[in-house]
């Protein structure tokens, strides 16, 4: 039991961070607006959660310009993918074991 709980990742223990990772797992990359729209959150809220995930090295942020507009692109790192997969497996085990 202890083992299972150890795999539950604190970094994903929030609805929005979980959402960001879910989207980035199935998309090569997503920009700020796409994440905002899908998750239905405010700019500031999203920014703080992406920052948290970035500091864990689970996602990478790429800033660029499309024409004159700044555009921020997010993608999951290999480390992030591994951690998220482990997290989901742990969730499934937890649900099954109870």
């Amino acid at each position: 039991m202890l083992n299972i709980i150890q795999n539950i990742n604190k970094a994903f223990d929030h609805r929005i961070r979980l959402g960001i990772m879910s989207i980035l797992m199935v998309n090569e990359s997503a920009d700020f607006n796409m994440l905002k729209e899908l998750l239905g959150v405010t700019d500031g809220n999203l920014a703080s959660h992406t920052k948290a995930l970035e500091s864990e090295n689970y996602i990478q942020i790429e800033k660029q310009f499309i024409g004159k507009k700044p555009n921020t692109k997010y993608s999951a790192t290999i480390e992030g993918r591994k951690a998220f997969t482990a997290h989901i497996e742990a969730l499934e085990k937890l649900i099954k074991s109870s």
Partner: protein
Amino acid sequence: MENHNYLNDISEIKNLMDKSSRFISLSGLSGILAGIYALIGAWMAYKTIYFDTSTMGSYRDLVISEAAVMRLLAIATVVLVASIVTGILLSIRKARKSNENVWNSASKRLVINFMIPLATGGFFILFLIEKEMLGLIAPLTLIFYGLACVNASKYTLGDVRYLGITMIALGLLSTWFLGYGLLFWALGFGGCHIVYGSLMYYKYENN
């Protein structure tokens, strides 16, 4: 007791993965209407081919005049445009209902991946018409449309994949039974659209 929360997490993950990678507002109703347009078009084509042009000799050796070919092209274009417009309008309506943006990255991907095989087929068929090789047009429209559906199905409702496979099968059959192109065409673009459209409508929109 935390269990409930984790179950919620899992369904939220699944929902977001689907929503972000697939365009799920594709309207089944538009499939039904496209099928009806296709049947009307097929009926008009049938009249053009078998009544408005002369058949020569005692065999039903078909001689299609240039005017008839133009008329067939016009019918096909009208059916195609009407189907696309209906599809877009009804999908916009469905997307509004579920609060989804119609022109998002998922629908962009859907359109691009649908258009690659379809445009390839379109140009291929136009060049065949230009070179007056008309026999294979009906089977080829079915085959390329089927391939387009299979390709696009990864980015929208999974049922589109089976629609595509059925279309490809009909296209191949129609190549084998070459004289019955129009019949297969009506069966594919008319019948299949109506069947799969109703299936999708009852599965996803009937609530």
